[in-house]
Symmetry: C2
Subunit: 429 residues, 2 copies
């Protein structure tokens, strides 16, 4: 990990650049898969899964017996952990419910917003080396609080045709009935277009590899909503000399272990803490099972030294990290200066892992600088708001001249006449 | 306008189809413009504007003198109308501010959401035949309530290089400082990439023709957020025999006058009201200045008769209209059954024009069935929510085993160690 000292502002753009991803060939492959699914449904899913994975389960839908089996096979400790995390996630997301009241901007003109759940949603849960059952909780719990009627889940099976039991346990705990053993771009196509087996949904959530991401972006262009554009995971740690360099090392590594394209940055105004972290990092890195991933990730990561807090926070807001851990004495002052970030972890005992799993906040967060403009997944992600209005005859008459003048100035005659004809009618009464 | 009686559910998909739009050639043209702007900034804007419009203003930025002039040139009545509408829009959107509180899912684990304005936004305001100064209000007022720091506005000038004074008056009333006379895809490119003259923004709002829409979709793929995917405008009117057929006619026409690709539907369980509307429609249509637009629009519009309210509301939710006007005696019962719509107008004196201009609700709404999943523009559209968390040593220790078990089951060793190393440290104290 390189050290960059006092970078000038004209280099910030370069420092904020994320590791490049290659898209074009992936997009062509995925486009073909999606087009085939649109035409041939289940048959195309079977064909492409066979090509890519070498096999496809005889039956995609997970049976009640499999779920029962899964529940039996996982330890009481893990069940308890899932229960604790679920309860925290439930509490935090349930508190996001908003009561909306009727506003009367002028007498007789009543307007209100009503939040209504999205009827049909789809969740994609990756399998493979990291069976992300925590993601099931992060997506299915707010969906259930929102009241989404139909929740479809797809996840790739292992070679032997099974799904990790923790994924199935988490899903059934969240009340998901329709779970399909379909992975990759095929899963996204199935949920976007619908097939004989899988119902079509209106919005698709969940992380995935570059094929899944490309498929989500492509179906998004065709009108299927997605949770957010996804890039490699990233963390910024801000530290001062009160921070523990070992804590920082593992916070950086817990992002770097995600994959070779993850990026981690350590920002500080104190050279001392940066040096301490770099001193202890190699030994910790060496203990890591996913060492090869982390090493590659650290190659395009950096420790950056700043003149002062203002400069450092400006840079951090320009970078707009997915995760931001502030391990300083005065984390409140710095925390108040955060404008762009996905999720912020304050103090020495709030590691990113807490939010990744169990504190209650969501772990589906904007990467690649999208935090400048997008929120992470939250209760709103599963609902949309409809505005309603009702005007009394009096209220209507009060507002009518305003509408008539504006409509006529915009040269929209029918917009004006829809008002005038009602005014004439009222005059005749 | 055709009448369709008791359509069977298998035909609903066809009935819900919007008039097709042609994209591909527009996309190629727009892609070239955007690529040129990315490379050559202002020079490319000048070049393409000259090609398309035959001229380009010597100076793009609207001067203080021009704004002063605009304010003088518009009537007191129009100013008053803009003031009334602005105040209603302000009240309705200000009421959408939410206070978020700190949640403590378990003792010592504190989590909260903080809504923060998007720093830099861009507004596109079409000029031409309909100078949409109302759209300035609909976008700039919530942006100002949200607290967006930098608001850039682009709008195409008339042949003589001027902007409609009502647009300038509305903009200055909303506190917009940076207004540029740039139109079409060039405006979108300028705001998305930034040029020597126009600053880059993070999110672009506003309606436009197919070139503007294509440009918004293309820059969206590159990471610039947009308000929502836009299609032609549409309205569904639901009526019973208590409705006034003349009111309905003008409500339908006020949507049909938008353009030849607008779609209007009249739904009812009473054939009588449908017949009455069709009887009086031709005479009203004949009075319309934008008759040719409206006629084309009515060709792919329909009156649909249903067996009962349940069936009708089911269809309406499947169609998911941008605007829904319910002109029936019992509009409350039907209104409560709305699941998918952009904005709903209840009763006989709540025409769509009220919400288009002045009641306070926003008129930037999801078209083409996007109401199934997207909200219209509202205060949230100008903000994003960041989650924060702080764990006390106690809280951390309470949550630690849960995190450790989950991380180790997901094979994410560093995620686990970031917790374990802190626990070890606390034990040593």
């Amino acid at each position: 990990m390189q050290i960059i000292k006092y970078p000038s502002r004209k280099n910030w753009d370069t420092l904020c650049r994320r590791p490049a991803m290659q898209h074009s060939s992936v997009e062509t492959t995925v486009r073909k898969i999606l087009d085939d699914i649109k035409l041939d449904g289940d048959k195309a899913i079977r064909h492409h899964t066979q090509l890519i994975d070498g096999s496809t389960p005889a039956r995609w839908q997970v049976s009640a017996a499999e779920i029962e089996e899964a529940e039996k096979s996982i330890s009481a400790d893990l069940k308890k952990a899932i229960d604790v995390a679920s309860e925290n996630i439930r509490k935090f997301h349930a508190a996001q419910k908003q009561l909306s009241s009727i506003i009367e901007p002028m007498p007789g003109v009543k307007c209100w917003q009503k939040a209504i759940p999205i009827e049909k949603i789809g969740l994609y849960i990756p399998g493979g080396t990291a069976p992300l059952f925590s993601t099931v909780l992060m997506l299915a719990i707010p969906a259930s609080i929102a009241g989404c009627g139909e929740v479809v889940m797809c996840t790739p099976p292992a070679r032997n045709g099974t799904v990790h039991p923790a994924i199935l346990y988490a899903a059934q705990r969240c009340g998901i009935k329709n779970i399909y053993k379909i992975g990759g771009a095929m899963a996204i196509g199935a949920m976007a277009y619908g097939t004989e087996t899988v119902s079509r949904v209106y919005k698709i959530f969940g992380p995935g590899n570059q094929y899944v991401t490309a498929a989500k972006m492509l179906v998004n262009r065709e009108g299927i909503a997605i949770d957010m554009p996804a890039g490699p995971s990233e963390v910024v740690v801000i530290a001062d000399n009160t921070a523990n360099p070992h804590f920082i090392c593992w916070d950086l590594l817990s992002q770097a272990e995600h994959g070779p394209d993850s990026q981690v940055l350590l920002l500080s105004t104190k050279e001392e803490i940066i040096q301490k972290v770099l001193d202890v990092l190699p030994a910790h890195l060496d203990k890591l099972e996913r060492k090869e991933f982390a090493k590659k990730s650290l190659e395009h990561s950096a420790c950056i030294l700043f003149e002062n807090d203002a400069e450092m926070m400006d840079f951090c807001n320009t970078y707009a990290p997915e995760h931001l851990i502030i391990e300083t004495e005065d984390f409140t002052t710095l925390g108040n200066k955060v404008i762009n970030a996905g999720s912020v972890f304050l103090g020495h005992f709030s590691p990113e892992s807490a939010g990744d799993y169990a504190s209650g906040t969501n772990h589906t967060l904007p990467t690649s600088g999208y935090a400048r403009v997008y929120s992470g997944v939250n209760l709103d992600s599963f609902m949309k708001k409809i505005t309603f209005q009702w005007l009394s005859e009096d209220g209507f008459q009060r507002l009518a001249p305003t509408i008539e003048i504006m409509a006529s100035q915009e040269n929209l005659q029918a917009h004006k006449t829809a008002v005038s004809i009602r005014i004439e009618h009222l005059k005749k009464q």
